[in-house]
């Protein structure tokens, strides 16, 4: 093995690249299909690369139909940003409180957040549906979906931010208080600016949780034009004859933010995954 690695140093990288390429093939296939014509999609043998690039599956859906790409994208963005805003603004102080104050019950709180993080959306779905119906939030409104999605973002954010705040040196707060800051101003002026990397992880995950949501969006939002892009895809697939290139165009568009976030905050995401999932 060692001998092999010394004499053929390119072997491992090449094998790994091939493996990863095979693993990510579905993504390639998704994007490529969105640029094919319906006829080319079902040609045998199938073409591994489009003969010519067709943008019709994107442009056709930009307007006209009741549910177009722009509407779906906008709805998903509104829902994800809304739920991101709620979860980070509630989770940041909560995580700080648990990390820095010794009060009875704080271990129980950590436990509660840990458990709620694992609850399936389908468990909360029926009661939330009835609750929102009584509150008048079912129907042409984003609110029910935003509120429901934040229940996934909050516990996750609390757990990873708690680890983050605990790792910050205590002297920061002590010297700030000597300089005349109270608990709140210390938190806002001293701690928050340092905690930005941790907050970014929490925000990214809260965004991604809401971005990937299907069940809340399709159950709570009565008006089709207001549903997130995932619900649009679900509707597309429900028809007998699926128009695959159009569906794939939707898929490519909804993959875009994930890909962008991935490129820019990849190292944060890895740390978030390991901190949030294991340490607790």
């Amino acid at each position: 093995m060692k001998l092999l690695r010394r004499n053929v140093p390119w072997l491992l990288p090449v094998i790994s690249i091939l493996l990863v390429a095979a693993f990510l093939f579905p993504l390639y296939w998704l994007v490529v299909t969105s640029f094919k014509t319906e006829a080319e999609i079902f040609a045998t043998p199938q073409t591994w690369f489009p003969r010519t690039f067709h943008f019709e599956s994107y442009t056709e859906q930009l307007s006209g139909s009741s549910f177009d790409i722009i509407a779906g994208f906008r709805n998903s963005i509104v829902i994800s940003i809304g739920s991101l805003a709620i979860s980070t603004s509630l989770a940041i102080p909560a995580a700080y409180g648990i990390a820095r104050f010794r009060f009875p019950g704080r271990h129980l709180f950590v436990l509660l957040f840990l458990v709620t993080q694992m609850l399936p959306a389908s468990l909360l779905l029926t009661p939330l549906f009835i609750l929102f119906k009584h509150m008048g939030l079912i129907g042409p409104s984003y609110w029910s979906t935003i509120l429901a999605n934040a229940t996934a973002g909050i516990p996750f954010s609390v757990i990873i931010l708690r680890t983050y705040f605990t790792s910050l040196p205590k002297e920061l707060e002590e010297s700030a208080q000597i300089d005349g800051c109270n608990r709140w101003t210390t938190f806002v002026r001293i701690i928050l600016p340092i905690a930005v990397p941790g907050v970014v992880v929490a925000a990214v995950f809260s965004f991604l949780f809401a971005w990937g949501d299907l069940i809340y969006g399709m159950t709570f939002i009565g008006k089709e034009q207001l549903r997130p892009i995932t619900a649009g895809i679900y509707n597309f697939l429900g028809f007998q004859s699926t128009s695959w290139n159009n569906t794939m165009a939707f898929g490519t568009v909804s993959m875009l933010p994930v890909a962008l976030l991935f490129i820019f905050v990849q190292r944060y995401i890895v740390s978030g995954l390991t901190n949030g999932a294991v340490k607790g």
Binding site: P13, S16, L24, F42, G97, A150, L214, G251, S254
Partner: protein, 294 residues
């Protein structure tokens, strides 16, 4: 005095998030139990005249029998996914831990499948495993099969295909957690073992695996919880079909509540699922506690 202020400040920081979770998570959990003990359907949802029926919803479900089948499916699905994800995740973690050029970057790329909305993954797999999809096309061209395979239409194969898609999502999670755990194993243990003449295979089974045991345990428990509640993926790929062959607890609950409008029976199914997750969750917390004490 100082101490009281300290206490109050602590609670004030935590309170908003706690109240939110109690209202939007705590209340639904309790309400699910209430729903399952009453008869709530689309007719009496608004009027509020909902009769108390005790455990009738549960006995009706178990007498009818589908729930037993669905429970079995969900366990089979979860077990199959856990094994596949773990084995492939471990293999990739070992590969990328060899520390060659680009290893980090490539490992990062694999993460994408975990971050994608399950809706998209489901759509891609449905397309690729369609009767005239790329999988059949390739197998036909290689002359491995004579005629297209109905991946999602025949019941055994549908389960297999759904497991495959979910494994694709779960691999990065296993890989990253195992990689991280591997980096905590001190290098010199391996070096001294190598000097003593232990082969790579022997070192893996005698050093790596035993030292990874705590990480593996929590990985499997977490994986169980995340896999058991599968929803979007199955709903889109098979909608629980053909004839309930891939019906899972969550899709079954959804079907009862929002397609048949039997809210109470849907809630009852959710509670059975909750019970399973609760037992596994308690197990996980026990594990965490033991690790922290060690």
């Amino acid at each position: 005095m100082m101490r009281m202020k300290e206490l109050r400040a602590g609670y004030l920081f935590v309170l908003p998030a706690l109240v939110y979770m109690l209202f939007f998570v705590g209340y639904p959990i309790v309400d699910n139990v209430r729903l399952s003990l009453f008869d709530v359907n689309v007719m009496n949802l608004a009027s509020g005249h909902q009769p108390y029926v005790g455990l009738d919803n549960y006995t009706a479900l178990f007498n009818e029998g589908t729930i037993k089948l669905v429970l079995l499916h969900t366990f089979v699905f979860t077990a199959a996914c856990l094994v596949l994800q773990f084995v492939i995740g471990l293999a990739l973690a070992l590969l990328f831990n060899l520390g060659f050029r680009m290893a980090q970057r490539l490992r990062g790329l694999v993460m994408i499948s975990w971050l994608l909305p399950a809706t998209i993954t489901a759509m891609m797999f449905k397309f690729m495993f369609g009767s005239d999809g790329i999988v059949n096309d390739t197998l036909l061209r290689l002359h491995l099969i004579g005629s297209p395979i109905e991946w999602l239409v025949s019941s055994g194969l549908a389960m297999f295909t759904v497991v495959l898609a979910n494994t694709w999502i779960g691999i990065p999670f296993n890989m990253i957690l195992l990689s991280t755990a591997m980096t905590t194993i001190p290098r010199d243990i391996y070096e001294s073992a190598a000097i003593d003449g232990a082969t790579a295979v022997r070192r893996f089974f005698r050093i790596t695996l035993p030292l990874l045991k705590p990480a593996i345990l929590s990985l499997l428990v977490l994986g169980f919880i995340y896999t058991f509640k599968v929803f979007d993926l199955v709903l889109i790929m098979t909608h629980g079909g053909p004839v309930n062959a891939t019906q899972m607890m969550s899709t079954y609950a959804y079907n009862l509540s929002f397609e048949q409008f039997k809210y109470s029976q849907g809630a009852a199914v959710s509670n059975v699922m909750f019970l399973v997750l609760l037992i596994v969750g308690v197990l996980y917390l026990k594990l965490l506690n033991r690790e922290e004490r060690e």
